[in-house]
Structures are given as C-alpha cells and as structure tokens.
Amino acid sequence: MKIYRFNPETDHEPHYDIFFVEANPNDRILDCLNKVRWEQDSSLAYRMSCAHGVCGSDAVNINGLPALACQKLIKDDSAQEMLIEPIKFSLIIKDLIVDMEPFFNRIKAIQPNLPPKTLDSSTGTERLQTVEERSRIDDAVKCILCGCCVSACPVILEQEQRFIGPVAILRAQKYIFDSRATANDTIERMRVMEKPYGIWGCKSYYMCTVVCPKKIKVTEQILKTKKKIIQEFHPKSE
C-alpha cells in the first residue's frame, strides 16, 4: 500500500510511505490500514467507526477516487498496489485526516434548523404520508454524510470552492420533497438553495453519483430540485 503521509508537527511537505500488508481478497481496505497502524506504524492517522459503511467516518481516496475504506475490498481492485490518499475538498490535518468542519458547515448552510413550524405534538397523532409521497425522499434518506460526493465534485475541486455542493443539496431535497412540510417551509428552503453558490453551481458532472458509496442518484435528485425551483420561482424560463 502506498499511503499519503503528512505530520504537521514535523513535516513541511507531504510524502508517501509504502507498506507491505498480507491480505485476503475479502479483506477491507480498512482492515489493511488497521494492520499497518497496529502492527507496523502506530502513527498512521485515519478515522473509522462502524466499519461497515453506515457511519461515514472513513472516506479516503482509493486509487484516485473517493470511497469508504470499510466498504472497498481488496478484490474490488485489480491493482497490485493500493494508493491511499486523503479526500480532497478540505485542509489535510494529518495523513488521511482532513478538516471536516467545512463539510458539516455545508449542511448547516441549507438551514436544516429552520424553525420547526411543522412540529405540532399537540395533535397527538401521526401525519399521514402515502407510500408514493414517502418514496420521493428515499434516496436522500440513504445519505451517511461521508463526504465522498463533495470530494469528487469537479465544481468544488476545480472551479468554485464556495459551491454548496452535492451533500447539502441532497439534504435540502429531503426537506423540500417531504410531503409533510408546510408550503412556507418548502419555499423558504428553496430560497436558500437559490443563494449565491447554491444549487445553480451544479453543472451535472455526475461525479457525485459515480462515487456515492450508498449508490444514491445524487445528480438526479439535484436536477429534480432544480426543476421544482424553476416551477416555483421562474415559471417563464421553463
């Protein structure tokens, strides 16, 4: 394995270290990283938690593309040497660890914290939602906030770092398309999407869809959201 290394306490420049790890075809990349840390070099830094693709901690670039280290197996890649690097969109703090603050700020930016106008426990009954209505947010519910989409987005990487990015739009899609939301909430959320560096920054490169470890059709959801915004705010341009 060839692994990106950078220790801010001692290094001016990053470098790569090569480790030899014995692995079975069914081993996860994360298992190999653990073998390195526990058996060869205890200073190797990377995040992990659930180890089966639900917590979203261990997104890294594997042979150039963002993926979850716990969800990629050795046999998934025919390359003899695995190139492991940090995901790209943010400041690299140490080895495979990047600053996640800007990532979570993207989600904050869509204002999931809109006042809960729809929350009214006083009725004491559930709100109804048809199976079809619920299915509109199926895809967005799968998101695990791993950051793969943001670190594969050509707009963010090459053009405009301030673009809010796929993860935030997908999160907004979940709220905008939830049939339980009030019309006012939905409109307010769509307005947020129209702010500078908002949804119109997306140029449909489809890279988010390609890399999403949960197989979410991210671009399709973004396009649906754009369409809804056009219908609502710009009916003439349709």
Binding site: V54, V141, L145
Partner: protein, 574 residues
Amino acid sequence: MIHQYDVVVVGGGIAGLYTALTAAEHFRVAVVSKVHVTRSHSVAAQGGVAASLGNEEEDHLEWHMYDTVKGSDYLADQEAVEILAKEAPNAIINLEHMGVPFTRNIQGKIEQRRFGGHTRGYGVAPVKRACYVSDRTGRAIMDTLYDRCQAMGVDFFNEVFAVQLLFSGNHCCGVAGYDIANCKPQVFHAKAVVLATGGCGKIYKTTSNGFASTGDGFALALDSLIPLEDMEFVQFHPTGIFGLGILISEAARAEGGILRNGSGERFMERYAPTLKDLAPRDIVSRAILTEIQEGRGVEGKDYVYLDLREIGKELLNQKLPEISSFIETYLGIAASEKPIPVAPTCHYMMGGIPTDTAGHVLIDDGKAFLPGLFAVGECACVSVHGANRLGCNSLIDLVVFGRRTGVSVADHVKEKVLPALPQQAESVAADKINSLLDSSGNERVSVLRAALQCLMTEKCSVFRNNDGLKEALEMIRQLEKRLANVGLANRSKVFNYELQEALEFGNMLKTAEAIVFSALQRKESRGAHYRSDYPERNDAEWLMHTLVYAAGEGLEAAYKPISITRFAPEKRRY
C-alpha cells in the same frame, strides 16, 4: 480550555441527542463526543423501534410490557417497563413530528413489522410492533435529531475524548477531556453531566459494534466509585455475518428469513415451537451455538445459514436494502439467491450505570442518587431490559428515557447554581495524556487488546462456567498489570490514535472485569447469562440486580431488589 454550560452530555448517539434536545429548550447544552456526532453507533441500528401503535393489527401496551418483562427473563424493573411501554406510542409520534421519515403502509400510516419476542395476547403469536425506516431506522432518527439539535442551538464538541468526571463535594460539576486533534485539555464545567456513552462490544473479538464502543462511560463511572448494575448480561445477536460480525437485523427473520442448520433443518422449531425464528435473541443465539457444538453447523464449520431466499428479490430491495447490500459487498452473494453464513455477534450491554426512571444515577442499593449526574441509553441500566433485551426495545428506550432524562436535567439545572470547579480540573487530562506519552514500557496496546478480545470471546460469551470465568478474571488482572507497562511508539500530539486506544483499552479492561466478576458471582442461568454449571434460573436466590463497585485493587458485589408490579415470574417458553 474551560467551557461553561448548564448541561454537558457525553456521547452524541440517539440517547445523548434526545436528552440534549429536550434540555436545550431552556438551557445551554454541549454535546461532547469522541467521534463526529453523526458517526455515533446509533446510526447502525437497522430493524426498527417498538411501540404498540396498532397500525397494522391489534396491539396493547400491556402486551408490549408483558413481552419486555418476559424477554428480560423477569429481571427488568416492571415499573420502568410500564413507563417504556406506555410512553412508546407518543414517543414515535414525536419523532414523526420532528421529521423522521418512517416507512408508510397503504393507509399512509407508519408501517409496522414483526420482531423477535414481540407478541399479541401475551405470547400467542408474533405481532407487528416495530416502526421502521426500511433497515436504516437508527440512521434516520439520528439525522433528524442532529438537525433538530442544530435548530435548538446545541453546541457540538466533536472528537473530544472524556477522561474523568469532576466533582464539587458530592455534586458532579463537569467532565475533563482532551481534544483528539491536538491533545489540548478541554474542561466542561456544568450544572449537570449526562453520560450517554453507549456500549462496549469491542471487548469481544466479534461484534456488531463500531470501534468507538469501548465502554468509556462504564469506566468513568467505576473510577468515580459509582456502581455498575447487571453487567453479566451481555447480548449476543444471533445473526452476525460469520467472521465479520456485521449485523443482519432480526427484521430479516421478521420478513420471512429462516435459520437452517447444516442439514437444512429449520432448527428453531425445536427450541421455540411457537415463535420459532422470532424467539428472543438469547434463546436464538444459544440455539445456533448448540447446533454448531453438536456438529450440525454448515459443513462442520462454526456457522449456520440464514435463508432469505423465500422473501424474494423485490421485497428484499424494498424492506431490507441495506442488509442486502452488506451481503453483496462483504460476501459477494445475492441474498435472494444464496443463504447467508451467520453466527452470534456481541451486540448490546443490558447492564450499565444504575439510574432511576428520570435518568438520575443511583449510587447504592436504594434510591440515593448522585446530584448533577445522569445516565441514559445503552450505558445506563434503568432497568427495562433485565437479563435480555428484545429487538427494537433499545431505540424506544433511547427516545423515551432520552426525553425523561432531558426533562429531569432541566428541572435540576433550573434550581442549581454552577458548583465550583475543582482546582486540578485542567491538569487531569494533561496528566493522563503525558504519563502515557512519556511511558517507556515494552507492552503494545494492540497486542493486549487482541488478548482481551480472545479471552472474553472464549470464556465469557454465550456459555459460561465457573472455571472459565475465574481464569478470565485472573487473566484480566494480568492484562491490567501489563497495561501499566505499556509504551507508546507514537508521541505525536496530533490525532494520536495509539494514545487514544491506550486510554480506551484501560476502559475496556475495567468493563470486562465488571462483566466477568458479575458473571462469576451469579450462580444461575437467566436471559443472556447462561452458566453451564448452573443451567437453571433460580428465582429463590437470584431474582435481584447485581451491583459492582470498585474496591481497592478489585471489585465488590452487592445486590438490590427488583420491582415486580404486574407479572409474576413464570417459566419462559416461546
């Protein structure tokens, strides 16, 4: 750095976030977590959350209560179980109102499905009581609570590791920790501290738990001379993917999955003629291991098959998409075409920090509590799960007791002024870190940890006996001595995981010791605690909760009565 808050919550899973959210209505709340909050292990909960809504068929809270008590092998406190069952339906409504995207049925109501041990008519047949979000129920609830917490202005301190509770006299007044990113001490000075640190699956070799489940809250409590309750009751989920331990939810059996031994026999019919594959977890786990031990595993190997083929591809995609993808990713097979090799995997700790039904931490065998300290979720023991938890009862526990704890925290904070911080508050974490960073011993944490995991798996899993437990206790004490001689190869102060893992291993050892010690004392078999040398339940002598306290070099046991209000203990048949 010293941060002042009304409330500090340690741990950001569903229990921690629900408590934080409730308290944040009127007070300043910080959530301190050693991982980013959204990585907490609650996100791995798959199958559902139990409440007798009756959306699909007749159901009653009395039935839910009875099932929970019987499932607990009559060790749960019935007063607490009654609260759980009673408040569950409204808790689900609250979640729905917050925005949790529950899966819906044809009437547009929250859909419900069957789950292990949940029955109609006091054990007659399985009932549809589990509300769910396909097989991502935990993740969906977490996402909603995370966004709501932001709306309420809860402050998150991500990647901060808590090392010690702080006291002003007998009043808990905060927690000392350090920033994993740079080793800087972080002190949280508060009127109320809530422990919501989750479980300890990582002390076993095979577990469904994430790397963060290292029993930190149990160790924080023991270190502060707080007892732990019923620690011998460790749940092994029957169906972990063989070798990996990744969870295949009971929902798979609820939707029609069947367990089969090496000769293809549906063996659960022999162990639980009424509920069969949907018997409670302790019973199914023992059945699987009995099949394997008696040579009826698949091809002589240490697993049986979970057969989902009859469910069919379409329904698998619809109801169990996440599980289907795990099976495809990690085993390279389609669940609709081939059976899945499974074996029990360490899943959940029924025991924990003793609390009353308002989250106050109890410090003796009566009702005395420690002012300013609360516990909730898996790290707490109310006790609603007794000797064996039913599936879907943990998520509802987190939500019901998360809310109740939040309310009682708010009541406490309202009346109190901020107690003084002890003088050494800031140096506590620095001293711990530095003594490890300066250590020059020759023991490696990764080696010691592997030894503990093997030991616990061999001697203190589903089947236990006196000799094995005694040996385990002896070896844990040896590991404690070896830990004192640990040396870190990595002296960095930036994201030093060798350091963190050393601290976590100390917590794992203390937790393991409490488990083994409690298991050694309890000379009967009840729920998840099965002693092959005492194979029967013994209500005359053991219908009581275990408490263990730190005492000198070791532990001391005490016992406290259980609350029986409605259902007298009966023989447990399914």
